[in-house]
Amino acid sequence: MMQKAEKKMKTYLRSVERRLHLPRDVKKRVMADFTSAIESRKEAGKSDAEIYAELGTPAQVATDLNEQMKAYAYIRSPWRWVCLALSALSGLVLCGKCGNALIMLALVLSENRSVGVIGGADGPTQIFVTRTEESILQGVTMPAIILIMSLIGWYCLGHLRGKK
């Protein structure tokens, strides 16, 4: 019975914490105080049911805490959308390049197989293969770098810390 009540309380606290849109350190700070608030009420002789009724549902508690702690929340810069657009664009380019590379590779493999059957004419095939590898790398590196950088930019610009 006791364990069940404790489990319910832990679930309650976790659901509040999950709904807080705050930086990790601020969230930890708030949850430390909120847990103390529950413990104080228990010490004052209140039952779990009374505590839940007084504090409200996890969604209500989190909405209130998010509202009150607005000054501590992350600032989301509108510039992050530019980063997202850039990452979508570079992602598309990357997909195109990869698709091309796969077709090329399939062609090379099928040619290799036929060369293997005929035998003797390895030279031109070898050149074709190396040229293909070089061009694959050249085409893919830039969009991949842009994709990674813009995704980092998207994350960072959505998690700016403001003045309190």
Partner: protein, 115 residues
């Protein structure tokens, strides 16, 4: 309209009242809320969330500090707030400011009309 005016007034003095209460002895969130409610005759009935940004501002400014105190019996530890030396000085300074402020505001009080 009345509500908004009262809300603004409360907002302005809440930090001073919280600082004053912590300066009167180490306390934790729930006790602070109860004391504020009792001493103000129910005028300052706050939610937990309203208190946290004020406590964090005071703590970040070095006027109060927090520590964990062991609860009585089987209860878990609680986060206690204690005033620092800087907090005690600031409290006196703010009360002086409040004194001047309230005297100035009171001097505008329309005496003739209400007598």
């Amino acid at each position: 309209m009345d509500d908004r005016f009262l809300q603004q007034l409360k907002k302005g003095v809440l930090e001073l009242l919280v600082l004053e209460t912590v300066c009167n002895g180490s306390t934790y969130g729930y006790e602070l809320l109860t004391r504020l409610k009792e001493r103000s005759g129910g005028l300052f009935m706050l939610k937990e969330g309203t208190l946290y940004p004020i406590l964090y501002r005071l703590e970040d400014d070095g006027m109060i500090c927090s520590s964990w105190s062991q609860g009585e019996g089987r209860s878990a530890p609680k986060k206690m707030y204690t005033a620092t030396e800087k907090g005690q000085q600031e409290r006196l300074h703010r009360w002086q400011m409040w004194q001047t402020f309230s005297e100035t505001v009171n001097s505008f009080y329309p005496r003739g009309e209400n007598e």
